[in-house]
């Protein structure tokens, strides 16, 4: 296995951390996420490159440190430090029943669209986000397509009136 699970002492000894294919991965939880990210930003991770989510409905077993309880959803945040030339990944577990997370907008305003995309395709709500609406799918669409229990197959044309008509 490429992932050697170990406990990281750097981040106050509280944030479990792993290595995955040469990149550091932190596993904060929902409560301390904002604080962790604020600290990281001060350490030089000034760019939030990407926010995405994974639905682990069909694959509950995965490489997580022992102290992290796997949940159905996982938010993956990719940060980049220009000065260190280093990437860092944060994986946050989100339970199925309460799919919410505090927004990163006040730290990285660039997360706005990325969070909206996750909201649209996974149905995870970001609390405090200025504009938590669908971004890719039509506004009155039902369901969240990238969830694993959403069928991929074709569906009939959901013909709604054109905007502005």
């Amino acid at each position: 296995m490429p992932d050697d699970t170990k406990t990281n002492e750097d981040n106050d000894g509280t944030i479990p951390s792993t290595m995955s294919h040469g990149q550091n991965v932190l596993h904060p939880n929902r409560e301390n996420l904002l604080e962790v990210i604020k600290n990281l930003r001060e350490e030089g991770f000034v760019v939030c490159i990407d926010i995405t989510a994974v639905d682990y409905l069909e694959n509950p077993k995965r490489d997580l440190p022992a102290s992290v309880k796997p949940e159905r959803f996982e938010i993956v945040i990719n940060l980049l430090s220009h000065t260190k030339r280093e990437r860092l990944r944060l994986r946050v577990q989100i339970p199925e029943l309460e799919p919410t997370l505090p927004t990163l907008f006040d730290i990285y305003p660039g997360s706005e669209a990325l969070e909206r995309e996750v909201h649209d395709l996974f149905g995870i709500t970001f609390e405090g986000h200025p504009d938590m609406t669908r971004i890719l799918m039509p506004e009155n669409w039902e369901g969240h397509p990238l969830r694993k229990d959403y069928d991929i197959g074709k569906i009939p044309v959901q013909f709604k009136e054109a905007p502005g008509s």
Partner: protein, 199 residues
């Protein structure tokens, strides 16, 4: 009888009277003139969607030059366009817009479905795409390919020209009530209602 320079072939004139003339500028039908003008001046609407849009623009550029058929006049306003080239994948969100643009175009109007995504959903058989633009608008010519090269698009256009020259001058889609015959299905299990749009 000899072939006259302006009047054309006149050999059947003894049997058929004036109908025996080949069509020339004196006896030609105005219908033919109209069809000729439509094939020579078919202004496309700028309706680029995805990858195919690039090939569509490449067809208009120097190497292939749609201007030869008088088609370099891409009209931004659908009111003035004759031809809608649906170039690329049509998403569920785009479908109503596409239909609206089609409705805004004035008759006579034609549609080329360019590329497999527009024609059948292509490799993306999933929730997001309309599986064939013919569910939304009536299509005249399908251009295959992913994306179709400029040559394929030109071939499709020439096919369309042929269709226009041989087709009816008006009431082109009488059998379809002038619309596409769209099925609007209720997703939550209600009874389906057929709505014909564009009548």
């Amino acid at each position: 009888m000899p072939k006259l320079p302006i009047l054309g072939e006149t050999s059947n004139i003894s049997e058929d009277g004036l109908a025996g003339f080949d069509h020339n500028f004196l006896t030609g039908k105005i219908e033919d003139l109209v069809k000729w003008s439509r094939t020579r001046s078919m202004w496309p609407a700028t309706f680029g969607l995805a990858c195919c849009a690039l090939e569509m623009m490449a067809t208009g550029a120097a190497h292939y030059d749609l201007a030869r058929w008088g088609m370099e006049v891409f009209r931004a306003s659908p009111r003035q366009a004759d031809l809608m080239i649906v170039a690329g994948r049509v998403s569920q969100k785009m479908a109503p817009v596409l239909r609206q643009v089609y409705d805004q175009m004035m008759e006579p109007k034609w549609v080329i479905s360019m590329g497999v995504c527009a024609s059948s959903g292509g490799m993306f058989n999933n929730y997001a795409l309309v599986q064939g633009v013919d569910q939304i608008v009536p299509v005249d010519v399908y251009a295959p390919g992913c994306p179709p090269g400029p040559e394929t698009l030109m071939h499709a256009i020439l096919q369309l020209h042929e269709k226009v020259e041989n087709g009816e001058i008006t009431r082109r889609r009488k059998e379809m009530d002038g619309g596409a015959g769209i099925m609007v299905e209720q997703r939550d299990g209600q009874t389906a209602t057929k709505v014909i749009i564009g009548k």
